[in-house]
Symmetry: C2
Subunit: 202 residues, 2 copies
């Protein structure tokens, strides 16, 4: 299993370099469980699927604390057959959730209900891509059923689903969508955008 | 067939609103062939698969002309079974390219070689997701073979491929990857980030 994310942070500010460098420290708490590499487009996080979204949440919260309009964008992936196994990616849980779709929806909902609030409102939209499976639309529709009962569902858009609310349950919902749907040991990709402090937010 | 993109433009500037409004006019040349809807996270472009990347290229070029570091991020999709057919999406060409992989690679390379230069250097990275097909990795590996001979290939990264060069051939390469690989009438998604005027570009 290989899992990780290519993450970019966009502060809409003349001081974008300062905001980014100021926020990177938020990843320190996760560094012992992640491999981190940065270039001019994105930062690669490689690690267990369960901690990718909590780490991204802390990064965005730290940048958004500046008050600046910030967007975090990421391509998240697990189980890609083109990537080598890597011990740093070993799931923290007992492995993939192989239960029937209905039970996974229930478990995902419970996990979001138990997530803490952060005080930062965000809007997010994402697409889930369960790859290589014949029934990829079944997993997508199951995930949408979970999303609609997550408490942070905003609306369905073309190609993606929009969430809004506190960053705590929003990132928890993204994490559940990523880890709980699509084949347990299969190739699942997720493309996400999370926006904070937007002047055009409803 | 339904095809389109959820596009976001991020100017790293205190005047991000001004840069975005100034750049939107670049879409005017495409408006008669696109349906366009905007909310606080992204702008939806719905139209033929062949004009999505040229329209996004013009949008980014217009914003980058300000000299500000700008990033365009998009989730692009065609053939999603959850979306209704829409006449505005009718492909301009004679329909999907159903030829063998080798011939499609050749055609894609020729199309990029014929694209014009814009004078704007960019770096891009993207992931291609051919969904619902059993052989999705074959299409991905075929696409990678094309990319390596595109003239703008930079390097393979985890989960994505990085391109760099003039915006003309870079967007042409993205467009060819999107329209030429994955099942012709199948569901293909592409997640892309294009960066201009980055102070940390190599």
């Amino acid at each position: 299993m290989f899992s990780g994310a290519q993450v970019s942070l966009y502060p809409m500010s003349d001081d974008f370099v300062g905001v980014i460098f100021g926020a990177i420290g938020a990843l320190d708490a996760w560094r012992d469980r992640l491999r981190i590499e940065t270039d001019d487009i994105s930062t690669l996080l490689v690690g267990p699927p369960e901690i990718l979204f909590p780490a991204m949440r802390d990064l965005l919260l730290s940048a958004a604390g500046s008050g600046v309009h910030c967007v975090l964008s990421a391509a998240v992936s697990r189980g890609c057959p083109g990537e080598p196994d890597d011990p740093v990616c070993t799931p923290i849980s007992d492995g993939p959730d192989g239960r029937p779709l209905g039970e996974r929806i229930y478990a995902a909902r419970a996990a979001v209900a138990g997530s803490g609030l952060t005080g930062q409102q965000v809007a997010a939209q994402f697409s889930l891509y369960p790859l290589g499976a014949g029934h990829h639309m079944d997993e997508i529709y199951g995930c949408i059923e979970f999303l609609k009962s997550s408490g942070v569902f905003d609306r369905s858009k073309n190609f993606c689903t929009k969430l809004s609310g506190d960053a705590g349950p929003v990132f928890a919902t993204l994490s559940e969508a990523f880890t709980r749907f699509g084949a347990g040991a299969g190739h699942v990709a997720l493309d996400v955008t999370v926006s904070a402090n937007s002047p055009s937010a409803a």
